[in-house]
């Protein structure tokens, strides 16, 4: 047994991190946010005339400076130390990334703010097709496809590492659906075709996807809490409900196997596992960001990170993160349904509570639109609804106790 990452796995993770920091660094994230937010809402609310300008103004407070590129460039001892020497990302975003975003936006031919009143907020084309193709070229979507089929031929552990990195930078788009469609939907593997799928009562990125899997009839747009995840709600479906074999008590109801909400079909398991990986990456980033801020922000004449009240918030963030990490990585090795359910519960918790605590550590700056913390929290909230959500995971794990495999 050796649970540690292999050298190849470390290299792969670093490669994905470099790619994403380069192609989707903080400026690209804020540019995507501006497009999604519609007619210059960011500039208006932040009062800074754009994300970069806003950052400059507030950097002196230590609030904005702790986020985004600042956090990526500084080797944060937290994650690195806990994981045995993880190198910090090399910040190569900026001009290149911003240019790519601008190109991508132009290529889709849909300027921001062009949406109708009834569409999702903003309504502009947010998805960066050029970035999407770059991900395809790098093998992001074809990671698990056999090499004979033009894929990378890697396994679930490597895929989980890649999706963790995507979660770190809040990479937008129906990444999991497209990844799962590689090999079956032509063009998905290369990033030419964007694929989304109905998931329970929701579907992400319906208007921007080229291929939609599952029944999305009657889909209604909602104003998504996460500005970078357009959502439609789906009408409730009639479907057979079956009962698990009773083990002596009152049976409770489960959706039919293979039905739209059964988390135990292979794809549902994978959606849950890769969602957990994204949550893990988000939790890692918010933990590092909080620590960085606590080290540099001074009040009462000392860094706020010297106060135990703040220290303990950060320590709990790391404890949740590393516990979730062990569970997620193990589930990627075993692909056992109960392991996946456990990984998902802990990763959801690490991401949501991590973002909440990160916001708290940032104080007033954490409550601003200009900070990235809210984007992590809103995305984390959104992800918790995928593949049945926490309730279903808890019920499965409860049943598992009676099955005696625990």
């Amino acid at each position: 047994m050796d649970f540690r990452l292999t050298d190849d796995q470390r290299a792969l993770r670093q490669g994905v991190r470099d790619l994403l920091e380069g192609r989707f660094g903080r400026e690209a994230l804020r540019a995507a946010l501006d497009r999604a937010d519609g007619t210059g809402a960011t500039g208006g609310r932040a009062g800074g005339g754009g994300a970069t300008g806003g950052r400059g103004e507030t950097g002196a407070t230590g609030g904005g400076g702790a986020e985004g590129r600042g956090a990526a460039a500084a080797p944060v001892g937290g994650g690195g130390g806990a994981e045995g020497g993880r190198a910090a990302g090399v910040p190569v975003d900026g001009g290149g990334a911003a240019g790519a975003v601008a190109d991508g936006s132009g290529a889709t031919g849909a300027p921001a703010g062009g949406g109708g009143a009834g569409r999702s907020a903003g309504g502009g084309r947010v998805l960066d097709r050029e970035l999407w193709r770059a991900l395809g070229a790098a093998g992001f979507f074809a990671l698990r496809l056999p090499e004979a089929a033009g894929g990378v031929g890697l396994g679930l552990p490597e895929t989980v590492l890649a999706f963790e990195e995507a979660g770190r930078v809040l990479l937008p788009g129906p990444l999991i659906a497209t990844h799962l469609a590689a090999g079956t939907v032509p063009g998905a593997a290369t990033g030419e075709v964007v694929v989304t799928a109905a998931d329970g009562g929701l579907v992400e990125w319906l208007d921007e996807a080229d291929v939609v899997l599952g029944d999305t009839g009657g889909a209604e747009p909602l104003a998504p809490v996460d500005p970078l995840t357009p959502l439609h709600r789906l009408p409730a479906r009639e479907g057979p409900v079956h009962r698990l074999p009773a083990r002596g008590g009152t049976p409770h109801r489960w959706p039919a196997p293979g039905g739209p909400r059964d988390a135990r079909t292979p794809d549902r398991l994978l959606v849950s596992l890769l969602t957990a990986a994204e949550q893990l990456g988000s939790a890692a980033r918010t933990c590092e960001t909080a620590v960085q801020h606590a080290r540099t922000r001074e009040q009462f004449g000392r860094p706020i990170g010297a106060f135990q009240a703040v220290q303990h918030l950060c320590a709990d963030m790391l404890a949740r993160l590393e516990t979730a990490r062990a569970a997620v990585y193990a589930a990627s090795v075993t692909a056992d349904p109960a392991d996946v359910a456990a990984a998902r519960l802990l990763a959801d918790e690490a991401a949501v509570r991590g973002a909440r605590d990160c916001l708290q550590v940032h104080g007033g700056m954490g409550f601003t639109w200009e900070s990235d913390v809210h984007l992590h929290l809103k995305r984390a909230w959104t992800r918790t609804h995928r593949a049945g959500g926490g309730t279903q995971s808890e019920e499965e794990l409860a049943e598992d106790l009676l099955a005696g495999t625990a």
């Binding site: 649970f3 000392r302 950060c314 320590a315 062990a326 990585y329 808890e394 409860a398 049943e399 625990a406």
Partner: protein, 384 residues
């Protein structure tokens, strides 16, 4: 990320299982928890069987009489012995996990030859004299004095939370030899014979009603200077060396046991109807996730230790923070399943619920663990 076992590890486990299946039925009945001499005899008897079968000091270095097993083999040993229902380390705890490894690492050849074999063979019991009434979380504040007098140190002071003091042969003792030095600097490590004149042991009763540990009062106790391990005033460093021997495996057996208890709690809920309460049921499901993750975290920590030659990573503090809390949650949930029955001390889980309260305090409180995580792992400024 390899969670599988190598051929050697599989063979190790198979041999161990075969041996356990043969030896456990030959054990005498478990002694009463209140009969300390009987508990000592029982625990030493188990250690002797381990010794005869080649499992004593599994994780000790070979040149200290150990087996030089890998951290993974040690993990398998702890997992399998717990699953088979074998006795706990019990009275051998300090000898095998603290004092012994310290002597193995820092002791002279004579000291190793004198003290290590009796620990491995199950002949001598050690206790730990570290904490004091005014030196708990702040261990370096200890005040028990030792002054040199000829070939002896003369020790006066008091120690507390000393497990197995009533039946121990030796005490690994931390004393202050230089009252003028900075806190960590003036401390010395001594092996004190527990039959020396001037030692008074007063058992402490815990809130669970049992006497698991004691206060030890020292009044002009003479300890030969030859019993000093390491240099005078270097005891703090000598003590810290010990910690590297646990390799983050101190709670392996307990996590295995907690997972078994959790399944029993679920079955009890199914039996008494509480299973129909969705809130309770989901709470048990979440605990399943927690203990599964803690098991994976243990495997992670052990794998990290494998890479560093046995020195545990900082994962130990993260694990302890999370585990001590989860253990309390487990027995709180068990109490909810039991309902009014949870007020009956005759129920095993009721006593376990009480004893679980010590977990967020012993071996570094949760608050101290958070300080360690914040300052040593996350690199936050030292706080006050």
């Amino acid at each position: 990320m390899d969670l599988g076992l190598t051929v050697e590890e599989e063979e190790f486990r198979a041999r161990l299982r075969t041996w356990l299946a043969g030896v456990l039925p030959t054990l005498p009945p478990k002694p009463s928890p209140h009969d300390w001499p009987a508990r000592r005899a029982y625990d030493l008897g188990w250690q002797r069987r381990l010794y005869d079968a080649g499992y004593a000091g599994l994780h000790w270095p070979v040149d200290a009489g150990g087996r030089g097993a890998t951290p993974t083999q040690h993990l398998l040993f702890l997992e399998e012995t717990e699953k088979a229902g074998a006795p706990y380390v019990g009275a051998n705890f300090v000898g095998l996990l603290h004092a012994g490894p310290t002597i193995a690492s820092e002791g002279s050849a004579e000291q190793r030859a004198r003290w290590l074999p009796p620990v491995l063979r199950g002949e001598e019991v050690w206790c730990q004299g570290f904490s004091e009434p005014d030196a708990g979380s702040d261990l370096a504040a200890l005040r028990t004095r030792a002054r040199r007098d000829g070939d002896d140190y003369v020790v006066s002071g008091s120690k507390i939370w000393t497990s197995h003091a009533e039946v121990a042969d030796w005490c690994e003792l931390l004393v202050r030899t230089d009252p003028d030095a900075r806190r960590h600097a003036g401390i010395t490590w001594l092996a004190m014979p527990m039959d020396a004149p001037g030692i008074t042991v007063r058992p402490l009763r815990t809130l669970a009603g049992s006497t698991e540990f004691a206060e030890v009062f020292l009044d002009e106790v003479r300890v030969p200077a030859a019993n000093r391990v390491g240099a005078e005033n270097d005891g703090w460093r000598v003590t810290m060396v010990t910690l590297s021997y646990e390799r983050g495996t101190a709670f392996v057996g307990e996590v295995v046991a907690c997972r078994r208890v959790l399944s029993e709690v679920a079955r009890e809920a199914r039996r008494n109807g509480r299973w129909d309460d969705a809130v309770l049921r989901r709470r048990l499901g979440r605990l399943n996730a927690e203990f599964r993750a803690l098991w994976r975290l243990t495997q992670w920590n052990v794998s990290e230790a494998q890479g560093t030659g046995g020195v545990p990573g900082t994962g130990g503090s993260v694990f302890k923070l999370r585990y001590s809390h989860a253990r309390q949650e487990l027995f709180d949930a068990a109490a909810e399943v039991l309902g009014p029955e949870s007020l009956d001390l005759g129920r095993e889980w009721t006593l376990d619920r009480l004893s679980s309260l010590s977990y967020t305090i012993a071996a570094g409180t949760s608050q101290i663990q958070r300080n360690i995580v914040a300052e040593r792992i996350l690199g936050l400024p030292r706080g006050r």
